[in-house]
């Protein structure tokens, strides 16, 4: 069997696997070979699980041949960010502290993918403790962007995004507490979904790799259609996760391909506008035009207290994260990088009353978004305000666009997170899809947001835009 690299989406490969036109073993061998060949350039994977993957592929092949086809993920290679626990496979959280930690259980999202027959190829690189948007990791190295190795892949799920974009797997699971699925998806030109808070179990996510109330388990794939297939497998209530929602799980794939004419879309304006570069604005305008040409109705919108969001997000996340790290801060402080350690220590100085004030203000913001989403059905905005920065720029602590040189990070967090954080504060579902390329040849992302548990509507609009724009068909040229 020759695996057609041009057919490398789940939706295209699944029918071939079901009809026994391709072999799971050969498919997994193909992806492992690519991973071994290109990972030295990209540093997308921290750990490759070759032997187990081949054993699982052999099992999938037997099952399919015996007529026990499990569904569209059976035999499909996936990867997992290294902060989701995997039984028998080390789970580092991108940290030195957990460098040798081997869990004896799977995170629920991992377990559900395995139950669906998907095959784990390995664990992907990430920002140390998921606390940043670059995946420049002092312990496991920097993940490079497949579109240009001099650029960051984004983060914190940078390894997952690079692996999917470079076709070193067909899907990856990441986590998103501020931007961490959508940012790298945007920077690597793929699809990144942060579902509604509670839609996907967080059981098995390493504590302290995202705040309790803002973190989400998310999905990275090459297409919207594939994203819907993966969400189908991992969504749903989990008694092991007290924060998971007991909400019905619809058939997400049904919404893919539905007409979008008449959908009301709000173009969200707010505090992040001052950090939107001209070329991102131009690409975004073209995306708005595409939405209009598809029959969707767009108008500019905002909410009264949108400007509070950076303070709410930073306060809640920092305090919750510092609380999760308390045991390590007392015993293993020397095993953090200085920047990460200083961040957690400074969070210890935040008064408890300020945290409660943030959670009170958060209710106002959530109510205002709920009201807004009664007037329009979707919101759109750029995923990141400026083109992908280089690794060198990030190491030196700045970003540069439109003749402006700005510190990459200030008290609000990374500048690249400012468009994404409203939906961690509100828990609303948001998907990033590619909406063009910068002059430097790097991808630009469009963020589409819906009301709580409206992922079907998100897929409906994202798929329509993806097919209209065809940006998803571009692929990076990997180093020979």
């Amino acid at each position: 069997m020759a695996v057609d690299a041009a057919a490398a989406t789940i939706s295209e490969l699944a029918p071939l696997l079901r009809r026994k036109k391709i072999s799971p073993v050969e498919l997994i061998q193909n992806y492992l070979e690519k991973a071994k060949r290109f990972n030295p350039h990209l540093n997308a994977y921290i750990t490759l699980t070759e032997d187990q993957a081949l054993a699982d592929a052999a099992r999938a092949e037997r099952e399919i041949h015996q007529g026990q086809y499990r569904g569209p993920l059976h035999g499909i290679p996936f990867s997992i960010k290294d902060n989701l626990s995997t039984a028998g496979i080390r789970t580092t959280a991108g940290s030195k502290i957990l460098a040798d930690w081997v869990p004896d259980f799977d995170a629920s999202a991992v377990q559900r993918l395995k139950d669906a027959g998907a095959i784990l190829l390995g664990k992907t690189n990430m920002h140390e403790w998921a606390l940043g948007g670059t995946t420049i990791n002092p312990f496991y190295g920097t993940t490079h962007n497949p579109w240009n190795l001099d650029y960051i892949a984004g983060g914190s799920s940078g390894g997952s995004a690079a692996a999917v974009a470079a076709e070193l797997c067909l899907a990856s699971i990441g986590t998103d507490s501020a931007q961490s699925v959508r940012n790298p998806a945007s920077m690597c030109g793929i699809v990144g979904l942060k579902p509604t808070y509670g839609r996907v179990s967080q059981y098995g996510t390493v504590a302290g790799t995202g705040a309790y109330s803002t973190n989400h388990t998310g999905i990275l794939t090459r297409t919207v259609e594939d994203c819907a297939v993966v969400l189908q497998a991992i969504a749903g209530h989990d008694p092991k996760d007290p924060l998971s929602a007991n909400a019905p799980v619809p058939n997400f794939s049904i919404s893919v391909g539905k007409p979008v004419r008449g959908i009301k879309v709000g173009i969200l304006r707010g505090y992040f506008d001052e950090f939107i570069a001209q070329e991102v604005a131009a690409n975004f305008s073209q995306a708005v035009a595409a939405f209009n040409s598809l029959g969707m109705e767009t108008e500019e919108v905002t909410t009264p207290h949108l400007g509070l969001i950076p303070a709410i997000k930073v306060c809640t996340s920092r305090v919750e994260n510092a609380a999760a790290h308390d045991p390590y801060l007392r015993t293993k402080a020397h095993e953090y990088s200085k920047a990460t350690l200083h961040s957690y220590i400074s969070a210890l100085l935040t008064p408890a009353a300020t945290y409660v004030m943030a959670q009170r203000a958060r209710r106002i913001v959530c109510d205002e978004f709920d009201d807004l989403l009664k007037r329009v059905q979707l919101l759109i905005l750029p995923t990141i305000g400026f083109p992908v920065p280089t690794i060198e720029q990030c190491q030196e602590g700045y970003v540069e666009f439109d003749g402006r040189k700005l510190p990459r990070q200030d008290a609000r967090g990374g500048l690249e997170s400012l468009c994404c954080i409203p939906f961690n504060v509100t828990g609303l579902p948001a998907i990033s899809v590619c909406c063009g390329f910068s002059k430097s040849g790097m991808p630009i992302g469009l963020l589409i947001v819906a009301g709580s548990f409206q992922e079907p509507l998100l897929f409906q609009a994202a798929y329509a835009y993806e097919r209209e724009s065809e940006w998803h068909q571009r692929r990076p040229t990997l180093p020979v």
Partner: protein, 56 residues
């Protein structure tokens, strides 16, 4: 701020240098300034959001 930080340093056993204390204190002051807006909004009838208990 520095005094508070030195107490935390003793409690946790970080052994921070003076330079680190100043760096962290400066960052904490920046956060304090960011959080100031939370005290300027009328929250008198607003209970804190303690769980994002989303319902369809």
């Amino acid at each position: 701020m520095e005094e508070q930080l030195r107490k935390i340093d003793r409690d946790y056993g970080f052994n921070l240098s003076d330079e680190e204390v100043q760096t962290i204190a400066r960052r904490a002051a920046e956060f304090e300034s960011l959080f100031h807006c939370l005290y300027e909004v009328d929250l008198s009838d607003t209970a804190p959001l303690l769980k994002l208990d989303k319902r369809p």
